[in-house]
Symmetry: C2
């Protein structure tokens, strides 16, 4: 049977409280929240005139960009793996 337990974390990101819910461990949820908080502080320190909403959008843009770059690398690795397996 699949374990569908949902974990719930109350955490602070950039000075506001959020409840984050997910099937992942509390440690994973905490890790995600900490990364977003750090990235918001990093982008905020470089762009002091940004309001929090715009800052959060640019943080989402940043995270999505990182995701797409990693996805490209992942697909390359998949191709390499398929090549190697084809030779077996």
């Amino acid at each position: 049977m699949a374990d569908n337990t949902r974990n719930k974390l109350t955490t602070t990101i950039y000075g506001r409280e959020y409840i984050i819910v997910g099937v992942e461990t509390i440690d994973h949820l905490r890790h995600v929240a900490r990364l977003v908080d750090e990235k918001m502080h990093e982008i905020g320190s470089q762009n002091r005139s940004l309001d929090n909403g715009r800052l959060a959008v640019l943080t989402a843009v940043n995270a999505t960009h990182d995701y797409l770059k990693l996805e490209e690398k992942y697909q390359e690795l998949e191709k390499e793996l398929a090549r190697l397996k084809g030779r077996e």
Copy 2:
């Protein structure tokens, strides 16, 4: 010589205008902006009481979560590849 040309895209995300700058192609920047816009609309439609700032933070949380999950898969693929190469 490395190509350090920076591209600049003016785009709208969730009704507000942003200038996104990066060394990637304009198509890549546009793709990122579209994904963030779509995700904000998706999360916003499920949580109509959220203000835009909180909505953007949750979008960043979502994207960062996706990144970490893909990173785990990437690392597993790297290990499998190393095993296969070790057998060559």
